[in-house]
């Protein structure tokens, strides 16, 4: 059985289909990348899984085989499906520490204390700013905080949406390295949406290519990399 599975997810915005029968799977311990151009429906896919967007009848989201697509977002989060949203979405007028604390809602503050310490260990920048309002952090630090909140809540599966967006390459590198090491150490299951394939593929086990709301291709990283068209689209030829 898969940890997380979607079956035939479909949704339309103003009668324009945004996703059509999208089925993806993630086993426990797997890192799955979702690649695709802007507007392909990647963000919508994550939003449906986390309950922020309702899908059309017939669509199913299964967590350990149980349907969760009818649940509200806070309940889906409490089950351990953690969505680190696009654009960070930190609480600007909560301190760094408070941002991490509210992420403890799922497991309780007492159990989350070691996780908060872990986040400070992974991202030392955050520790030195723990009493600063999150709105005063740089974009990179906000992304670290957003990922940190995900870690605090002790996810069964973490879904990250475009962590590199709008950040300097050196910061992006640092964030991805930290993330990769953390995943290696903990065996965290992850679903990662990223436009920049060069960033997400090295840490991924499997890949889905989404375009115009549909899955165009799926396979292991090597399989996908060897596909001519994909290579051209995502790795600049060769």
């Amino acid at each position: 059985m898969f940890l997380l599975e979607t079956r035939d997810l479909s949704v339309s915005y103003n009668e324009v289909p945004a996703l059509r029968k999208v089925s993806i799977k993630a086993s426990k311990g797997e890192v799955v990348s979702v690649l695709g151009p802007n507007g392909a429906g990647k963000t919508t896919l994550l939003k449906i899984i986390s309950g922020l967007v309702s899908s059309e009848p017939g669509s199913k989201v299964l967590l350990n085989g149980e349907e969760i697509q009818h649940l509200p977002p806070h309940k889906i989060t409490r089950l351990g499906v953690i969505h680190v949203p696009e654009g960070r979405q930190v609480f600007p007028e909560l301190s760094v520490q408070e941002n991490l604390e509210v992420a403890a809602t799922r497991i309780g503050l007492a159990k989350a204390r070691p996780n908060i310490e872990k986040v400070y260990e992974l991202f030392s920048e955050l520790k030195s700013r723990k009493n600063q309002m999150a709105g005063t952090l740089s974009g990179g630090e906000q992304q670290m905080l957003a990922i940190g909140r995900g870690i605090v809540s002790d996810p069964l599966i973490m879904m990250i949406d475009e962590p590199s967006m709008g950040l300097a390459p050196v910061i992006v590198k640092r964030i991805f390295e930290t993330l990769e090491n953390y995943v290696k150490d903990t065996g965290l299951t992850m679903l990662i949406v990223e436009q920049n394939a060069k960033l997400s593929l090295p840490m991924s086990d499997r890949v889905y290519i989404v375009s115009q709301g549909q899955i165009k291709l799926e396979g292991s990283v090597d399989e996908v990399k060897s596909d001519e068209r994909i290579r051209e689209m995502y790795f600049g030829g060769k």
Partner: protein, 296 residues
């Protein structure tokens, strides 16, 4: 002369702080659901009448009467969410629908009070000190009533600060106020934080009603008219989002009133203070006591 000034500062600031409490009711809802509750001031009237019933009519003693009044008001706040806010929202109603519904609710409560208690004002029991109780401080007489108002508001503000900044539910409340969707992704049940905001909003205004009743009597004046508007004014001075700025806004308004009475005339009191408020709104619509706060 100096004594007059100090005297007026003491009384103006204490009444003003209660306007600030009324304003807090506006702020707590604006923060979480971005709606203006036009029946905000009704909670003040309900608080005063409930306390009057429990204390004077049922002889339950100060503490029990106070706790019971606040308890009923808290339930009323929850009811506002469940029976007014949610149904309107679920059926696609927006801000305007909520405004109109609460505007009607305000009139409903005034008339229900007339039916149950009659239209005549009732004397409020001297639980915060009688008209002749005061303490002297370097020549100024501070009536016990004002002293008690300060005390209650100080305790309340410390309590609110503690809840919002030191408890997980308070932090969740602030998180949901800043970004509802992200809050839900943290596992925060936004229904719970919305309920909390309705409860806090009605309770602070209910307490304001009990504090104002010795001055305005247990009367319909507590359920509409100028006090409600002064509450809104305090909230606007705090930019609708800053609770502490709202109390400060209320205090400034109270001082302004008292000094216009002292130096000009009581007839012009409201004309002067509202002119200043309109001027402030025109010059600085985001509120003058709305500093970039470190914490709400």
């Amino acid at each position: 002369m100096l004594q007059d000034i100090l005297q007026n500062i003491v009384s103006g600031a204490s009444i003003g702080a209660t306007y600030g409490l009324v304003g807090l009711g506006v702020v707590f809802l604006w923060l979480t659901i971005s709606r203006i509750n036009f029946a905000n001031i009704s909670s003040a009237m309900l608080g005063a009448y409930l306390f009057y019933s429990f204390y004077t009519q049922l002889n339950l003693g100060f503490f029990i009467s106070f706790v019971l009044s606040i308890g009923v008001i808290a339930l009323y706040g929850l009811g506002l969410r469940v029976f007014i806010y949610e149904p309107i929202r679920k059926r696609g109603g927006g801000r305007l629908e909520f405004v109109v519904a609460t505007l009607m609710l305000c009139t409903f409560w005034l008339n229900l009070i007339i039916v149950v208690y009659g239209a005549l004002p009732k004397p409020f029991p001297p639980v915060f000190g009688g008209s002749n109780d005061f303490i002297s401080l370097g020549g100024i007489r501070i009536p016990s009533l004002y002293l008690n108002i300060y005390l209650v508001i100080a305790i309340l503000m410390v309590f609110i600060y503690f809840i919002l900044n030191k408890t997980l539910i308070g932090k969740s409340f602030r998180a949901a106020a800043q970004n509802r969707e992200a809050a839900a992704l943290m596992g925060i049940d936004v229904k719970v934080t919305t309920s909390l905001s309705f409860i806090m909003a009605t309770v602070v205004v209910g307490i304001a009603g009990i504090l104002l009743a010795p001055i305005y009597f247990v009367s319909l004046e507590l359920g509409g008219g100028s006090i409600g508007v002064k509450g809104f004014a305090s909230a606007v001075l705090g930019g609708l989002t800053n609770p502490y700025g709202t109390i400060l806004g209320g205090i400034s308004l109270g001082l302004l009133e008292n000094f216009s009475t002292l130096y000009i005339s009581s007839t012009y009191r409201d004309i002067i203070s509202f002119s200043v408020l309109v001027a402030v709104l025109i010059l600085k619509p985001s509120g003058i006591f709305n500093w970039k706060r470190k914490k709400i």
